[in-house]
Subunit: 672 residues, 2 copies
């Protein structure tokens, strides 16, 4: 207990009440309010009659711009959003699903972190998926999700799958967008962190996972004194089997990279399909040590003017991997750096230092990079790069022998956009948009084939410290334009204070017009994680299930499970010390309602939700035994556990299903 109360709770009992105002509220007052407007900082929202739109506008002090934004984003009951954002949840380890333009959170998809509402990590099947992400045999039930990638067909989002990485532990997850559930988690066997993932090739054949902080591959120990010799970067190419809905680790491989810190990657498209681009920082190979008087990483990794854009020929790399030109590290095939250099798989291109992101234009022809300490965006031409490689137009090699393409040979243009440029998106009008961290702004600028070639068009403030941005279908070969979302890392004064941990702020911008017409539409607080990146897909491209296709559905198999209990199959069987239960759930009862075992029994418990109505989900909470399931209509599951605690436990439906939902329960009796 505190010895002194430094910051006591306030002792005043009540703030000023509005009851007096309310008592005399009426049309007359509303009209006065409408004419006078509210005093600054006060919003007498209750002082106008219901339905009096003009009165509310006046009373709440809304400007014409506010009213425009209100009608542009407000989505009446039953009307659907036009776009869907899939946002990483940062170190929440989850994915957020958000509707645009309403900016309403439609769902949190549990991925790396257990989430009991969905039963994620509280059933045996989902625990097995999570166990795929075990690190050195340890369960690590959190992640730092960074970059979601929607599956693509022909460079367009196809609405089928979503991939996402865990920066902290170098893991990758696969989500099926039929049921919005995670199906697979893989732990990168050779790396301890990643950042340049996930990104997909235009037909989702490969899911890219680039590294972050260099370490000995295979996660063994080596002294920092041996950094240049023993530490390495990497990029991993995970082979995606679309029919199975899974990454196939047996057909995947990695590429060893120098111990620079790889940052973000993007896949080529159209003319550049088959190439992968990753930027990097800390080509200084700083190893920190502020405590011993060495420069801290923030300085040590920022000394050189240029870092290296990594240019990877994926076609050649896959040929090498297929030909067995790999070394096994932790049983995983890795193309060695020497082989990559020898075979021309890897080239470098100087890029302004410490950039965050490389973004391929929709036509695949150009790469946009922003050194975050340089006020310009730098645009390289893919054909220029390829020509330089073919002609051997190199300015030298790095310390690991990787050829460095001549900067001027690859450069198309540099455009000054503002301070702290980070990440670039594209629309359908020839504009590009770059987030400016230090300016807390988004810059609209014209590409070479845009309305006003290579010029800054408009900068719009955002609040505050914007990281990534996303435009509608902005990573595809045909962006839609219309909307852009700024992922602001700090919100500071934008929302009511909810303690020292402030929400992030997603701001929706209207980019539907031309020229200097960008407008701020909406502030969405994000108080359940810190999203890094997000993709925005046209809602019409998603075709999720409203219920599972058949009774007895196994979401792991995405098929009906043999032997799943159905109506009439319910029973309890004892075989020695094993008790097996076949249960069904339907509004509003479980069958059976009594399950009686002895302490020490092994229990196998199958449950199917045989309801078929949309939204007729049943929960199954088994208190004290750490099971909490969400059984959507048709879904089946099997629990298997030891009855190690005696007592009386009421299992019950934890998802409100009917007027008699509270009565939907049963007794699990463990004698002994």
């Amino acid at each position: 207990m505190p010895e002194r109360d430094l910051a006591p709770h306030p002792t005043h009992r009540l703030s000023t009440r509005r009851t007096t105002v309310l008592a005399v509220a009426g049309l007359a007052l509303a009209l006065v309010a409408a004419c006078a407007g509210p005093p600054p900082g006060q919003q007498p929202v209750l002082s106008v009659e219901p339905g009096d739109t003009e009165g509310v506008i006046a009373a709440r002090g809304l400007t014409p711009d506010d009213v425009y934004a209100a009608v542009k984003t407000y989505t009446p009951t039953g009307q659907k959003d036009d776009y869907v954002l899939f946002a990483s949840g940062g170190h929440s380890g989850q994915v957020l699903v958000i509707g645009v333009p309403s900016m309403r959170l439609l769902k949190v998809i549990a991925v790396f972190t257990p989430e009991p509402w969905q039963g994620w990590g509280y059933s045996d099947e989902t625990r097995a998926v999570l166990a795929g992400g075990d690190v050195h045999g340890k369960s690590i039930p959190w992640a730092d999700t960074h970059h979601p990638a929607l599956s693509e067909t022909g460079g367009e989002y196809d609405g089928q799958f979503l991939f996402i990485n865990d920066k902290a532990q170098a893991r990758v997850a696969v989500i099926d967008l039929r049921d919005f559930e995670t199906k697979q988690i893989l732990n990168n066997p050779i790396s301890t962190s990643d950042h340049g993932g996930t990104f997909v090739t235009p037909d989702s054949e490969w899911v890219i996972e680039g590294g972050q902080y260099a370490a000995p591959l295979g996660t063994r120990w080596a002294s920092l004194d041996e950094y240049e010799a023993e530490y390495r970067g990497m990029v991993t190419f995970w082979k995606f089997d679309r029919e199975a809905g899974r990454i196939d680790p047996d057909r995947s491989f990695a590429l060893e990279l120098p111990p620079y810190w790889q940052d973000l990657c993007d896949a080529g498209k159209l003319v550049s399909e088959g190439w992968i681009f990753c930027n990097s920082f800390n080509t200084e190979m700083a190893t920190g040590g502020i405590e011993d008087g060495r420069p801290p990483f923030e300085a040590g990794a920022s000394q050189r003017d240029m870092d290296y854009l990594h240019i990877i020929d994926l076609v050649k790399a896959t040929e090498l991997a297929a030909a067995g030109r790999t070394t096994e590290i932790e049983g995983f095939p890795v193309i060695g750096l020497d082989t990559a250099v020898e075979e021309g798989v890897l080239h470098f291109l100087p890029e302004p230092k410490s950039p965050h992101g490389v973004d391929v234009t929709p036509d695949g022809g150009q790469l946009v990079i922003s050194g975050k300490l340089d006020p310009h965006v730098t645009v390289f031409g893919f054909e220029k790069i390829r020509t330089a490689i073919e002609e051997g137009n190199f300015s030298g090699t790095d310390g690991y022998g990787v050829p460095i393409i001549d900067f001027d040979a690859a450069l198309v243009k540099q455009v000054e956009v503002g301070l702290g440029p980070l990440h670039t998106q594209f629309d359908n009008q020839g504009y590009a948009y770059t987030s400016l961290f230090l300016d807390s702004a988004v810059a609209r600028w014209s590409l070479g084939n845009g309305p006003t070639p290579w010029s800054l068009v408009q900068k719009i403030p955002v609040h505050y410290n914007v990281g990534h941005i996303v435009a509608a279908e902005g990573d595809t070969v045909s962006p839609d334009g219309g909307y852009l979302v700024a992922l602001n890392k700090w919100s500071i004064d934008r929302f009511l204070t909810v303690g020292p941990l402030h929400p992030q702020n997603f701001q929706l911008l209207d980019i539907s017009g031309t020229g200097e017409s960008m407008r701020l539409l909406y502030d969405m607080p994000i108080g359940l994680g810190e999203p890094h990146y997000v993709q925005m897909i046209e809602a019409a491209k998603l075709h999720p299930w409203e219920i599972y296709p058949e009774i007895g559905w196994d979401p792991g198999l995405q098929a009906k499970r043999e032997g799943a209990p159905e109506n009439g199959d319910e029973r309890i069987e004892r075989r020695g010390d094993t008790v097996e239960v076949w249960m069904t759930t339907i509004r509003s009862h479980f069958t059976p309602e009594r399950v009686e075992v002895k302490k020490g029994d092994h229990v196998i418990w199958h449950i199917t939700n045989i309801d078929t109505a949309k939204d007729a989900t049943h929960g199954f909470a088994l208190p004290g035994y750490n099971y909490n399931l969400s059984l959507e209509p048709g879904e089946t599951t099997t629990l298997e556990f030891e009855a190690d605690t005696s007592g009386v436990f009421s299992y019950y439906c934890s998802e409100f299903c009917s007027a008699l939902h509270l009565e939907m329960t049963g007794y699990f009796l463990v004698e002994g």
Copy 2:
């Protein structure tokens, strides 16, 4: 893998694109759209110029009512909401914080379930708080949170604390609203489930936790054949120590109740202060057994026309507890049922069967109850109840000897409101509001001292299957009116489909007017839990910290921690096999940046965030070692663990803090 693909992903590559429309978009088209309106189901939102409010209204097909709702709820950047909702997250185990009228999710407060963005359950201190909720020595890292209760002073919310229960495991948590963090979790030692909690007395001296499914007290086993003799209900009175900010279990006690299933409780206020009311169902004492041809609980627990409202004299009960008139069960003092009857602590009052909730009117004078299979609300008078008790006006006793007050002696009025009435709230105009589950509606009706005494005024549809409702400050002695939120359990067709698990739907209603003026304002999808109940407090009453008051702050103590590292204290010390680290974090580096240990070492690692800027939170991710911290400005923490895995692990800041955030990292090297 599935043998057949029963429900394949759609094979069409792309939906119709809007690029053609966009190419010709302009004012002309906008005007056409504004006149014609869009075809049903289509919203060509991109076909008007930015800033053209009328054009957007027409293009999006908004009605005048929609525009009213839009301007009533839209909250421009930097403007703050007027009210704050604290909603249970249902079986997510968390609490949701939502602004009104914008209906934006400001924060998820982690309570029973680990949540890594907040570092909740990923630091040693927060793991210790969670361990307070261990059940039979088992960690149960989820909960079914039901009923949040804001602390009160004089029957008004005071904005200091929030309490919430876990129905599944009979646990109670305390949240401090200075930093919006959970400070305490307690496991009820005598019960396995709760439902009638949490509710507070008007000065928050007691936090009430009523039971749910009957079981032997103390959680021992007993056969269902001995249900009437061995199974029991309960209500627990947790003593809250406001100064300490904790429940004091040593000054708490429980009351044994018959094995009916207690449902919801409410505390008396003003004239009824000192009394506690809990309703109940399954006074039939059904034990289920559909599998053996017995009636399922849904029928067995619904046979009698009346259940029992439990009327508890808390003043007498506390006197008995203080006098030691208790029995110890699992070391916890329990007033036995016989003692309660003998001393007049407990009385019953018949209530229409299977009600959900008992709600005390703001003046404390009446109790509103809705049998959910009866279209009426039933209003009892507190003075009538007290008189009946004093005069012994009983219709008999139940099987356990509890006196049953004569129904007619206590009845004030019954008002027909509609099908499936559940829960009632109050405003400042003399209206009451009752949710109607089967009607999917909210009824406004007039109390006896309201505008049109004892009459139904308006029913407004909600979507769908409404459970609880909440009005602004609706549980206090002086509700504000203005807004009401309906917690709809099903959303079905209201939002884009996000898989078979649909969101819930919070609908905001405008109740500021009189008569039939209620309006629907906003649909908020809840896609991260199923809230049961919520309370709505005036935002001005909350005074949370924006940063911690001092550098080195321990949120567990809510005081500065002795010995927490500050600027200049950074060091690493080895004592035998123990390595102790004093670290600070500030934009944008850790000090130290290298921590080198040997496998098997015991590591003690103190970290303080010495940043003092608002929102300058630093994360601390230690990959592979399952730590992920959120260190808000000033916060300190200590980790203690065995270095059991060798390798190179990059710790890093997981909360984007500056332009050089990615460089904020260090190496944890475990040799061996």
